[in-house]
Structure formats: C-alpha cells, structure tokens
Amino acid sequence: MRTITDEGGVAWTVTEAYRFAGEPWPLIEGGDSVTLAVVWFETESGRTASVHLPAGSLETLHDEDLTEFLRVAVARRGRQP
C-alpha cells in the first residue's frame, strides 16, 4: 500500500480506492471532464480522509502532488476523527 507523509510528519496510507465510472464531473473551465476515484487514507492513529483524484492517477502522481490532493481534501471535507 502507498504511504505519503504530510508537512506535519504524519504518515497517511492508502487503504481503499473506488472508481466512479460513467459519472464524469465537469472541470470548471475548458469543457473537459474526468472520472473520479475516491481514495481513502488512514494514519497510524486512526485518522482517515477521503481524497478525490482523477481516476487512474494514483500510480502516476508524485508524492508531493498526492500530498497536495490530501491537503485540499482535508480542507474541503475534513478528516475523521
């Protein structure tokens, strides 16, 4: 499983991933669309967060980019607990 470390030094590990095929979400400009994957991360302390990525991008994203996705996801939807 893939693990990334945020700026606070906390390790987040991918635990589950879902793909939402056939329901593309429009991007704001340009008319392009992308199918989303929802990836769940979890820390050793039990915190979880769901991150929305373009489907298929998990393997190709660099760690720093994936960390940005995680941080934006936390800013948009929070983390649990």
């Binding site: 945020d6 700026e7 606070g8 030094g9 906390v10 589950e16 879902y18 979400w25 429009p26 991007l27 704001i28 992308v34 989303l36 929802v38 769940w40 769901s50 991150v51 929305h52 990525l53 373009p54 940005e68 996705f69 995680l70 941080r71 934006v72 996801a73 936390v74 800013a75 948009r76 939807r77 929070g78 983390r79």
Partner: protein, 162 residues
C-alpha cells in the same frame, strides 16, 4: 464486518455528495450571529495540535483563501479569493455549541488570497472567512488555537460555491 465497513464508507461518500449539493447544509449560527449563513470550513493545515503541557504564548494565523469547484481535490481548479474578510473572534462554548464572541482582529486577503492576522494572545478563536459580496463563493468559519507555533503552518481555506 468487511462488507459492513465498505457499506459505511460508501454511505459516507453519498452523504458528502448530498451535503455538497445542498447549499443550506453545514451552515451555522442564528440570525445576527457573525457566523450566520457561513459554512463550517476546515483549515487544511497539517500542523499537530500543541501538546497539552506546552505553555501558551501569543501566536498568529496565516493562510490562503480559495474558492473551489466540484471535481478533483486539486489547487489547479481552485480560485484565489481577493478581498475576502478574515475576522477572528474569541471562541465561546455555549449550550448551542461554538459561537463567536468579541471580535479581536480583521484583515482582507490580498490579490493572491493571502492573509495574516496580527499576533493574538494565546487561546481559542473562531475565524470567519467572508468573500466579497459579489463573490460566487460562500463564506465559512473554523476554530483554531493561537499559540507560539500556530503561524508556522499556513492554512488552506476552501470555500464552496453558494
């Protein structure tokens, strides 16, 4: 157990989608309250909470305010909000939950959406983010503790469309 966990996770995703589609969800505060009509905003910082044993000294809050659109969780499709008012209030915990007490500081975001509140006495605050009136994005608020290292981790504030 495994199946139940997946069902719960899927349900959580559905709830998030419904909440995002309902503009009235997640708002808080009675009429006349500075938080009325604002959505609860997460800070998006990765700073750990200060240790309980750490004596509190004055600190400040700093960050960037963005408006966001549905889709991937990326800054690439986020809009930096200029002229958003960022206001800190004393945090008050009452029977109806967290409310905003006395206002202690207020600034506006610059052209890059950046803000920095002045140094505040150590303690708990409510911080509200209100875009310009013509902005298509909804205001939000969060709670935070000012302490000597609170300014070390700039916030990313993501505000949804109205």
């Amino acid at each position: 157990m495994f199946v139940a966990r997946h069902v719960l996770r899927f349900a959580a995703i559905v709830v998030v989608a419904i909440a995002a589609a309902c503009s009235s969800d997640g708002t808080s505060g009675p009429a006349g309250d500075p938080l009325a009509g604002l959505t609860i905003a997460e800070r998006g910082d990765t700073a750990p909470a200060p240790p309980v044993s750490t004596p509190r000294s004055p600190g400040y809050f700093v960050g960037t305010v963005y408006g966001y659109e549905p889709g991937p969780d990326t800054l690439a499709s986020a809009v930096r909000l200029e002229g958003a008012r960022v206001t800190a209030y004393i945090r008050v915990d009452g029977s109806e939950g967290v409310t905003a007490g006395r206002q202690v500081a207020s600034v506006f975001t610059n052209a890059q959406g950046y803000f920095q509140l002045p140094t505040l006495p150590g303690g708990e605050y409510v911080v509200a983010f209100v875009p310009a009136a013509a902005s298509p994005y909804q205001g939000g608020w969060t709670v935070a503790e000012a302490w000597q290292q609170s300014g070390d981790s700039p916030w990313w504030i993501m505000l949804p469309r109205k």
